[in-house]
Amino acid sequence: MNKELTNENKLIEDIKKTFPSSEVSIQREKRVIVKIKQDTVPPLLSYVKDYLDFNHLSHISCVDWIEQKKFELVFILWSYDQQIQIIAKTLINRDEPKFTTINKLWRQAETYEREIHEMYGVEFVGNDRMGDFLLEDWEDIPPMRRDFNTIQFVKENFNDRSAAREDSKNVRETIAKHSGEEIPEFAKKYSTRNIDE
């Protein structure tokens, strides 16, 4: 890690000059993290795309920080010329989350936005394909949110099949009964399994 990160440092300078409010740091070689306010994200993405050749949109992700009542939107861009990955992050309000679509910059952003809308409930203003994507007729809260209780959902919606599972049956006792041998003392505590544990 003693390499001189010339490109990365120059990139940081460029971004700092244009967006003074942003927090820019080098995570490691070829990784630059930009933390920026919500409303300056589209201008930032448009700037790095048009002027700094960050023209490959690798990924758009969303992280639920429920303790801070925020969603974190993460835009990951790669520049084939500079060979640097920018990770641009912004925090948005968790109640009534709204964001501007960036599908004018990259058309494939539409797909990511559809998924984030469905899984986290973030509305992307300007994206007109905000309907069902992976889920069908979903009426509960968006399922990737941290407060969505998966186990409760499963218990309410699916039959409990745990009693039919092989490991819930007392196999050792059945074998002991058939063979007439006694279960050794040390194995007795393993011979029954409590499903609720």
């Binding site: 490691r28 490959h56 992700s61 992280v63 993460v74 990955q85 058309r107 494939q108 797909t111 069908e136």
Partner: protein, 367 residues
Amino acid sequence: MREKETTLYLGPQHPGITGNMMVKLKVAGDTIVKAETHVGYLHRAFEKLMEVRTWTQCFPIVCRICVPEPDPNEENLARAIEEIEGREVPERAQYIRVMVLELSRLAAYLLWMGGQSGSSGLYTMPQWTVGDRDYILDLFEELTGGRVYHMYIWTGGVRRDLPDGFEGRVLKTMDYLEERLKDYDKLMFESALFQKRAQGVGIIDKDKAIDWGVVGPPLRGCGIKHDVRIDEPYEIYDKLDFEVPTYEGGDVWARAMVRRQEFEQSISIIRQVIDKMPKGEYYNKIPNPLTWTIPPGEAFVKTESARGEYGYYAVSDGSDKPRRIHVRGPAYVHGVSLLENILVGANIADTSFIMNSLGVCPPEIER
């Protein structure tokens, strides 16, 4: 007179669809006017599931994200954890990882050859390539215990060392596949039927390819030379000598030729890896996995899979479970926005042909 438009549902149960997804086509005559990808038949909520599993318990989940090529998932997750934690990986483990990755690339290409030629009516090829893929699966079975899902690469290295004489058996399989490639050439790549069918179909515009998020062989089929193994070498790819083939045209034929040449490159990489593999440790032991926590942090790592750039965005909040793991599969872009665009104007019969050439893998879209 304008022809009447009809709606045609291709999939989710259709031999030409690469997995469980549906393409809703609007057709005029036999020309596609509008295409819409519908997914959701395979959604198993892996990413949600991983949030309630410990980091080590995630490994049996991630390999199920892509059936034809599960290893980039394991390698990506392992490398993401290692990057957040700052864990070193022994050199021998890195060599073994590259060998496994390239073997799985070969297996994926064999499956692709079957799908690509099968969707153009050459039904002998799938029989041959799926049979030959089994020789690679045999190697995986010996190495990892599993044929399709391996759960072999994990944090800190690989699960166990190579068995005795394994290198020799890998080399023997490589010799066999190289010899076999001549037969594939005769049957598929030199076949006039396949060439006529593939040339000029499913063209991706070179100027727009990067903007549209095209990666992997489809991008190199546009004549643009980008490969994660070269751009951002991971493991020990910077110590290996290999070429990144490109081909002009951007059509199905160009993508087929790129994959055909990469097949040879992968064989060469595996031979180099076995030749250069050092002795030593294969695993940097992690602490007790039941109490093992990862410091807070985040990482975006990526691998060049057989279908293109495969990325993992992992976030840790300092606990024993991941805060968020988000998978970026190449099919996410290729199978939805790209497919919907390049299908317009194509013939109905070319739909599955084009899908195969893009390497669309639905479980990657839905996870």
